[in-house]
Amino acid sequence: MRPERVIVVRIPEWEEHTLPPPTATPTETRDFTHLLAQLTELVPQIETLRPGLVAMRARGPARYYGGEAEAANALLQVVHAAGSLEARVGIADSRFAALQAATVDSSDVNGSALAALLPSGDVRIVEPGKSATFLSRLPVSCGIDERLGALLPGLGIYTLGAFAALPEDAVRARFGPAGVLAHRHARGLDAEHGEEIRPHSLARNFDTELHFEPPLESAEQLAFACSTLAEQLSASLSEEHLVCTTLRVTLTDDINIRHEREWTHPRFFTPSDTIARIRWQASSLEASTGERAGAGVAAVHLSPIRTDRAASHEPGLWTSGPDERIHHHLSRVQGLLGPAGVGTTVLGGGRLLRDRQVFVPWGVAPHATHSPGPWPGSLPFSQPSLVFSPPIRAQLLSAAGTIVGIDEDDLLTEGPHSLSIEHSNIPGQVQSWSKPWPIRERWWEGRPERFRLQIELTGGTAWLLLGQTRDTVIHWFAEGQYD
């Protein structure tokens, strides 16, 4: 079967500095849809890879315009007419190759053979059957996933050509399915099951708005009034077989002050979820306005920031998401305690115990936290069952009644004798203690050192203390308790 030719158009000014799509700011995503709509008038089936990068099949446009170069020029004209100064078009046998043709700068590739493949600066057409040759000169780091991109140079494979020369079976055995995909890409082929162009028509604007006259004052009233609005939004999205995963709710005051907030959902927004978010936002507004309390909401604007195909969110045969019943009950609890009243925890990275756990309110997608990678100075073993956030002030005294300090050798100046902790009346005789464990962060910036100390009291309770030096005096805090 002849491979399908693919056109990729790249408009750099729409792109963010980093690659993954979530970094594209919502306004840009939305405005890009205008440009996308104009391109769609030329070529109906366009897939947005990310704002500023679109892919389409080459066969139709090439036949219509009488050649690939002509089709590319027609696309460029539209982009220039829309006010974008710079755009690149890449055409090749596979999606990956076309993407590389559109994105790779010619300065990256030093090869005379390539210069022949460049008809002009803005359009790069890789002849049919030449995709593998085109790709073979590119460094492995481009386009292949990060892990492989870092690993392969260590194995002496610097170009995609060298990677493509490996036998496929060996790649499969060593790197698994992800490796095979990268290998096929490097050979100028699509994935084993094909990579179709999947157009999604984000050209349609799903924003909905509702005005109130007179302004509504209570969150409950507002939630009730918005129920049809939420239904409409959900209905119009489902017409296009889409679901909304990130929603921006804008509440406008009677004096035109806008309160915007973006809500992410771990699955997707149902109408009742949407109403809950409107209610939470309105009630937080009531709580925060202070003197201007009771200003009321004059308009509600809902705009889906991120949408996804509904097909990828269908419930599986064995439901993949959390149980409906649990969701229902926890939403009720949220109605009682507020959105942050109930949730789960996610482990993150960090040195202090309280940095290492993040409370995620129910119905909110967890933020990307610090990487869980190695954190020198974090407590590697026996974590306390109670973690105080913020740490509680404590006093660690020696037998003579002075505060126990830490000397230059990272040792305690005196043996600790008694421990007292604020708001706690535990018997405070110290029975045994550990060596102080230093936490050194950014010492080159002069950040004060911190120390950890495990203390066991005669009553059998054990504490994890955190010592912080400030102006040569050490302040002790209880970071956690082994209870």
Binding site: R325, V333, T344, T345, R356, W362, E456
Partner: protein
């Protein structure tokens, strides 16, 4: 054989063997902790009181959580997620309500409808009527409640009488394991157990279980 002397001990053995209510089911219980509980397991519809250790209370969630059930922790603002995870609790299925305020009791009831085991601490005094209402919901939905602190009419009351850590010296070492003396009060009578905690698991030392020399709490 002296019948009058044998009678009380026989009666107690019968008590130990028969469940108090019909239709009770055992919930997954950490094997190391089963000697602490009457019947050797957590039972649906029952409430257990644990006094003196959050970690011991949380350990009752572990087995249910491993089995894929959802659990909850109510009223613990200082929940140590890493310690809980190392015990074996799946954090993504562990619902936290750190600060339930005055709604604690009604929330414990609400949560018990969906979560299999809930660990809860109540600040306010709980009236017998409220206790009965919660027990009814627990029975109806087949879940269990582990209360940190006191609870009237609990299936079993576990009190940490003494705890001793090991691994820590005078300026060296680190906490590694601990030994708890736990007094259990239930229909089997009052007993003292030695529970040791090391490598993130609790185990009850079977040989040290002793009948407490006290009268059974009435």
């Amino acid at each position: 054989m002296n019948i009058t002397a044998a009678l009380p001990s026989l009666q107690q053995r019968i008590n130990e063997m028969q469940p108090l209510r019909l239709g009770e089911r055992a919930l997954p219980t950490p094997p190391g902790l089963s000697p602490l509980l009457p019947g050797g397991a957590l039972h649906t519809g029952s409430t257990y009181a644990v006094r003196g250790s959050w970690q011991l209370a949380l350990a009752f969630l572990v087995e249910a959580s491993r089995g894929g059930a959802w659990c909850g922790v109510l009223g613990c603002p200082f929940f140590g997620a890493e310690a809980a995870a190392s015990l074996g609790i799946a954090l993504d299925r562990c619902v936290l309500i750190p600060d339930p305020g005055s709604h604690a009791l009604s929330l414990a009831g609400t949560l018990s409808e969906t979560l299999t085991v809930v660990v809860a601490r109540f600040d306010a005094r709980v009236s017998p009527a409220q206790v009965e209402r919660i027990s009814a919901r627990l029975r109806e939905h087949g879940s269990a409640l582990v209360v940190v602190g006191d609870w009237v009419r609990s299936e079993s009351r576990l009190t940490v009488m003494k705890s001793r850590w090991s691994g820590l010296g005078s300026g060296y070492g680190a906490l590694s394991s601990k030994q708890l003396t736990v007094q259990s009060e239930d229909r089997r009578g009052t007993r003292q157990h030695v529970v040791s905690w090391s490598h993130n698991t609790f185990t009850v030392d079977q040989h040290h279980a002793t009948e407490a020399p006290l009268l059974r709490a009435v």
